[in-house]
């Protein structure tokens, strides 16, 4: 598939390019967020996936993230995988305000874990949702909201994986249990958290994230 990477570190861009090319992908690189937006101006030549770093020139703050949000608002179904140097819940919140289909937010360090990274690339390109376990762990750790304490240890594990955007099948694989067991856990979790039972993974992720996120809002207000 065709992948466009926006990354200002030449080294990393080079490494990613060689990694993805070795996997048989067609890779194009650009070094600034503006280049990225310019490269994807025409809807006719959209790639299958965009990978972008958050921090890029000229201000080295959140150009990549804003470019990603912009691209998603223009091309709704364009899969975008955002790489972040550090876990920033605010970034995740900004990114996931819309349809999480084909959207990923992972720590840059995750790239070094090649299998994990390639898996994320494949899932996002496939229209899935990927949220870095670190982000989820951080949100969970800071969630004093009633409900989570009613979850069993296993259910918390399942909740974490749900929040990362994994499907029931993937969760079953990861936990080495059968699919019916996972489905049972999911139903139980959704019931305990008063969330609507929903078969759709994406909507489920969004609901879980929103639920978790509310609790971190100082005002407790729904967003």
């Amino acid at each position: 598939m065709r992948i466009v990477i926006a990354e200002d570190s030449v080294l990393l861009l080079d490494g990613l390019t060689r990694l993805l090319e070795a996997e048989g992908h067609d890779v194009a690189g650009c070094s600034t967020a503006d280049d990225l937006v310019a490269a994807l101006a025409s809807p006719a030549t959209l790639p299958d996936l965009v990978i972008t770093d958050v921090r890029m020139p000229p201000t080295h703050t959140d150009e990549g993230l804003r470019a990603a949000i912009h691209l998603r608002s223009v091309h709704r179904s364009l899969p975008v995988l955002v790489l972040s140097q550090y876990v920033e819940q605010r970034y995740a919140r900004e990114l996931f305000t819309t349809d999480p289909r084909g959207l990923g937010y992972v720590l840059k360090d995750r790239v070094a874990d090649v299998e994990e990274f390639l898996d994320a690339v494949a899932r996002v390109a496939d229209g899935g949702t990927v949220i870095d376990p670190e982000v989820v762990a951080q949100i969970l750790a800071r969630t004093p909201r009633s409900g989570t304490e009613r979850l069993t240890a296993r259910e918390r594990e399942v909740l974490t994986l749900m929040a990362e955007g994994r499907s029931n099948t993937a969760i079953a694989d990861r936990l080495v249990v059968g699919l019916p067991a996972v489905e049972k856990h999911v139903t139980s979790i959704l019931a305990k958290l008063d969330l609507p039972p929903d078969a759709d993974d994406h909507r489920r992720v969004l609901a879980v994230l929103r639920w978790l996120d509310q609790t971190n809002d100082p005002n407790g207000a729904h967003r």
Partner: protein, 470 residues
């Protein structure tokens, strides 16, 4: 003469009661001693003065007279002081000698001859002359009257009433008879104290007139003193204001440099974070990717895997070099271990442009505080980096000297001066946001000065002076 003088010195002239008690009054005793001692003292002074004046007059053609006259006038003041003290002690009222007139400012002659123009000294000399006469009269009257009084009182013991032809005073007394003479003696016993007191009063009055300041003079002196006090207060106020202004300036300066120092430190931290983020962290991530690729290819394509491992190896070495540079940028180890001299030599050796390093007394340099040394190091590092990057220079010079300095206005005991020059294109810029600006803040926080001369037609000269506390 004041009412007080009258009451203390001559009470017999003041009240009838005192008049009645005059022969046994302490004022009378004082007046007697005043008349006797004063006369002896004033006669001695007068005789000495006459000798002195005669000598002065006779030697004046030789030029010595002028010097003697000056000395005499000078002595006259001390005579006035002594006489005022004597009068005070012997009469019981305060007589204060006028102070010497202050020497006027001016040339040598004006200053040297000024005592001659001091009317006070001449008045004292006049007092001495007049007093010779008055004290003699007073002494004669007092002694004469008391002798006559005592003789009269004792008349009944030795005088017989006889009618004799009058040839002497004793014949007169004999004709008058002992009783009237005794009555006259009794009268004199009362009259003598009155005369003694009166003469003391006269002497005090004379002293007041010629030795002391007049009321007008006193008022003038008081006015002058008040003016002097006012002037002093004004001066003190101005000094205090100046000091306060200075302190305000200093406080403003410190506030500003502190803010700049904090922001310079923040900039440094940001730079380090950026360096780590853009450098080591990215390299390590890339390294991870590289190793991941190698692992995936190990089974299927060993050759590619080895190539990836080679790549990763090179990556590790570059990361290490970069970390070393970064650490040096935070604080160079060589500066702490081997001192500024060695650190500057290392800097010069790393610079692609030939750099001549001239270092002053290494001991004095070593005595400068670590902050000053670090500032000097980073100034040189930044300047040489700029020289290498932008100046297109063919050579550069680094001069570092440490001066001992002793000044009231600075707690520092030394001044570290760094001068970096190059023969490049010039036009260097220390405006905000540049590396030089950060250095300027750093130097300002140490109370140092920062001077960049870089004309657009070529050459750059950066002079930084940092006080060292140790």
């Amino acid at each position: 003469m004041t009412r007080d003088d009258l009451r203390v010195v001559a009470p017999a002239l003041f009240s009838l009661r005192e008049l009645a008690l005059a022969p046994v009054s302490p004022a009378t005793l004082r007046a007697f001693s005043q008349a006797v001692i004063g006369w002896i003292w004033l006669i001695c002074v007068g005789a000495a003065a006459m000798v002195y004046v005669s000598v002065s007059v006779f030697t004046s053609p030789l030029g010595i007279g002028l010097v003697l006259a000056l000395g005499g006038v000078w002595v006259a003041h001390w005579f006035a002081v002594a006489e005022a003290a004597r009068l005070t002690a012997q009469t019981g009222v305060d007589v204060v000698a006028a102070p010497r007139r202050p020497n006027p400012r001016g040339g040598f002659w004006r200053t040297a001859l000024s005592p001659l123009a001091d009317g006070r000294s001449w008045a004292a000399i006049g007092y001495a002359a007049v007093s010779m006469v008055t004290s003699t009269i007073a002494f004669t009257l007092v002694i004469g009257f008391s002798a006559m009084g005592l003789a009269g009182l004792g008349a009944p013991l030795y005088l017989e009433h006889r009618n004799v032809p009058v040839h002497t005073m004793a014949d007169v007394m004999s004709n008058v008879g002992p009783l009237p003479v005794a009555v006259l003696g009794l009268l004199l016993v009362w009259l003598t104290p009155v005369v003694a007191q009166a003469s003391a009063l006269a002497q005090v009055t004379l002293g007041r007139a010629l030795l002391s300041q007049s009321a007008a003079e006193r008022a003038r002196a008081a006015q002058k003193a008040a003016e002097a006090a006012r002037w002093q207060a004004e001066t003190a106020r101005r000094e205090a204001e100046a000091r306060a202004r200075h302190m305000v300036h200093r406080a403003e300066h410190l506030t500003q440099t502190r803010t700049e120092a904090v922001s310079a430190a923040d900039d440094d931290r940001r730079r380090i974070e950026r360096d780590l983020h853009d450098g080591a962290q990215q390299r390590l991530v890339a390294l991870g990717v590289e190793l991941g690729v190698a692992r995936r290819q190990a089974a299927t394509d060993p050759q590619s895997a080895v190539a990836a491992l080679d790549h990763a190896h090179a990556e590790v070495k570059e990361t290490l070099a970069e970390l070393r540079d970064l650490v040096r940028g935070i604080h160079p180890a060589v500066l702490a271990d081997r001192g500024l001299d060695a650190a500057l030599s290392a800097l010069a050796a790393r610079t692609p442009v030939p750099v001549e390093v001239v270092v002053g007394d290494p001991q004095a340099l070593a005595a400068c505080g670590p902050s000053a040394q670090a500032a000097a190091y980073f100034v040189v590092a930044e300047a040489l980096t700029n020289t290498a990057k932008h100046a297109h220079a063919s050579s550069a010079t680094v001069e570092v000297t440490c001066e001992r300095r002793f000044g009231w206005d600075t707690p520092a005991r030394g001044l570290l001066r760094v001068v970096v020059t190059d023969d490049g294109v010039g036009g260097a810029d220390a405006s905000s946001g540049t590396g030089l600006d950060g250095l300027r803040a750093r130097v300002a926080a140490l109370d140092g000065t920062f001077d960049l001369v870089s004309p657009p037609d070529g050459g750059t000269r950066l002079t930084v002076e940092v006080p060292c506390v140790s």
